[in-house]
Symmetry: C2
Subunit: 430 residues, 2 copies
């Protein structure tokens, strides 16, 4: 076996053999294959793709590069959710305690944000005292007792993916459906969950800008999950406008608390309930998530989750010192709130990071005071910028001023969920 022959085979359009895949991933993880060889292979995969059985093996090899957690023997069925990331996507903060309150164990191992979409850990860390790292034994204990855990993934969960993702990031090889699918699924499968619901976002604020690519990614991941014994289904969901009103770490925690308390923006509630219903089906649990959410039980679980990891909600969620309001230039109905622009704006205000070693601001971000369909008067506030450093407000205000478009008529209402892709063993929707 040598790396060059494997690169050339993929370059020339061949299916890599199981032996080639196993050897390459193991040797790359052990630093025996050079980065320049792995990036050349990644680029060849970008152009020539992978067949389903080839990709399944590739994913297996990524899982085998580290530990696969064993969550068997819990008193609750395990089910998790993964989102491909969007602006204002705080769904995990609500969904994990909600599904736990319905009787499942949700082992959500998460990452930090990079670029214009935030990471779940960054959001949770806006809660004073909350710690992302949990020893495996303690995680099991909490899954059994409380049911919900949000924590950082340990370094020995699919280490090949960790190394490969950092490489792809600097070599222009992120945007490959098989490589994206195997990266996400190797981590989620290694996490040990029995079931998984994927939220694959599509639109101008998402990683996937067009439906065909999002649909292909979702189907590829659903197949990979089920092939590896994880009951997996997916929702393809809209990410053109900011999800909810808040984009920024503490701002999103506050909005999540609002939803857990029975309020919050309707689109956040809609998506949370849709994902919760899918998760309960896969976990084999009955239960009405809307009722559980309204009852306050999910909020109680969230409070337990926070305090189990050292956090406290007693003093409230921190807010930024500096703010600036942007007003509507004209009267009319809000047509859209451009998620990418707002996401980039929140990032520049300090909510996100450009490089993985950067730190983030807990309080920086943007509140969308107007949502699509809202009627506004000229001069009415539509966006509120939050920052720790006042000099960041002005340039971002210019950037995001045009992110809210206003027209004379109310836009058509749109459902967040565009498509459901069910696990093959379950009945398909008509």
């Amino acid at each position: 076996m040598n790396a060059r022959d494997i690169i050339i085979a993929k370059r020339d359009g061949f299916r890599l053999t199981d032996e080639q895949i196993d050897w390459f991933i193991a040797a790359y993880t052990a630093d025996e294959v050079a980065d320049e060889q792995a990036s050349a292979l990644a680029m060849a995969v970008y152009f020539n793709g992978m067949e389903p059985t080839e990709l399944a093996r590739w994913t297996s090899a990524m899982i085998e590069s580290g530990q696969r957690l064993d969550l068997s023997g819990l008193s609750r069925p395990t089910v998790d959710k993964h989102s491909t990331g969007g602006v204002g996507d705080k769904i995990s903060l609500i969904l994990v305690p909600l599904v736990a309150a319905c009787g499942a164990a949700v082992p959500q191992l998460s990452g930090r944000g990079l670029g214009h979409t935030g990471g779940t850990l960054d959001k949770m860390e806006a809660i004073p005292g909350w710690q992302a790292q949990l020893p495996p034994d303690r995680m099991r204990e909490l899954l059994d007792s409380i049911g919900g855990v949000i924590a950082g993934a340990s370094a020995d969960l699919a280490p090949a993916d960790r190394k490969m993702y950092a490489l792809r990031d600097v070599t222009g090889t992120i945007e490959s459906i098989p490589l994206i699918a195997s990266s996400i699924m190797s981590k989620k499968i290694a996490e040990g969950t029995d079931a998984l619901v994927l939220d694959v976002k599509v639109g101008r604020g998402a990683f996937m800008a067009d439906f065909a690519a999002a649909d292909e990614l979702a189907r590829t991941m659903v197949r990979l999950g089920n092939d590896h014994g994880v009951a997996t289904s997916a929702l393809v969901t809209r990410m053109d406008d900011v999800l909810g009103r808040a984009a920024g770490n503490a701002l999103e925690v506050q909005e999540s608390l609002d939803v857990l308390a029975g309020g919050g923006p309707p689109d956040v509630v809609e998506l949370t309930l849709a994902l919760a219903e899918e998760m309960l089906v896969l976990a084999g649990l009955d239960g009405n998530p809307a009722e559980v959410l309204a009852s306050g039980e999910a909020l109680a679980v969230f409070e337990k989750m926070v305090s189990a990891q050292g956090g406290s909600l007693d003093a409230g969620i921190p807010v930024a010192e500096y703010r600036e309001t942007i007003t509507a230039a004209e009267a009319g109905f809000v047509q859209s709130v451009d998620a990418r622009r707002v996401g980039v704006g929140a990032w520049r205000l300090g909510a996100g990071r450009a490089r993985k070693e950067d730190s983030v601001s807990a309080t920086a971000g943007i509140m969308c005071l107007a949502k699509p369909g809202d009627q506004v008067a000229a001069g009415e506030p539509i966006l509120e910028l939050h920052a720790d450093r006042p000099e960041l407000l002005e340039p971002v205000a210019e950037l995001v001023a045009s992110s809210v478009s206003i027209g004379p008529d109310a836009p058509p209402a749109q459902s967040i969920v565009i498509e459901r892709i069910l696990a093959p063993s379950l009945p398909q929707s008509p």
Copy 2:
């Protein structure tokens, strides 16, 4: 400027801008762009190619990464030759002194061999005492006085190419026509020659196995040379069978001496004269290379070249201690002598290197005692293996036994030159 954006632009099929190209090559040469980024870009070029003006700029940037020699002011016009490499290709050893004897200055800066085709420097080093390295001033002096120089290229001739080629070699990105063309032409243009004839070989013993690819490579390089002010033309030539009878360093020097003395295999003479005629046209010189070769003047120039670099032909050319003969299994006409098999055989006997830091044997190699068209009797010797280490003979004998195919009828005679591609300023052949 950053490397990732440039890789993505090429991956997505865009023409790189002049600024992107200049920045990338300069930064890569300065170790500011990582190898894993350069290999990803090379793979993207493999798939998406380069437009002619883009490739010209790429080649310019490779030249600008180091020094371009100034050979102006010599008393003779400068003209050089480059071959893409074949088995038994000792043409430079005859052609350089021949064209010098016709009045040109031939600044042949060469490399060493890798894999199954030999390098001109390795062959010259089989001559006792001969040294490849020449200071630039001494090279100028010899070009003026003797006319012919064969020497090693200095490290500051297109250093970007040196670095990039080593990278491409381990990342499966050698086989890209624009990258091959820019690699060859950046070195040859930097060498300072006014004119250049390319010998682009095609066939089972060549780097290019099919005519369409060889033709495209030849046309690409002719355009690049002329765009950079070097009058360039090309011959596409056949490389299915071993060129001449000898494959191996000392064996090829001896065969070259035979041709310079007026004898030698007809195919070697035919190709040498065809290339010499092209070179004289480009150099603006009259002269009949066949007559000059027959006169012994080229041999006299070669002797001067050798002694100017410390070599001596007085004691003869060394021969290997161990030999083994392979005989014809049946009577008939030799149909072909598989250049690749014989090349690999000579390499395994010690004539070539697998890694660039390996040394080579001066005397190891294979003599083809029978050539296509020769009639042989069963049991007649057809190949003679030469080695310094007797244990290498047996395995190579097995490998090359089937390289000579024999049939009942004489094969059709074939011209070595398949196509001529002339410099655009010169009249095209009909």
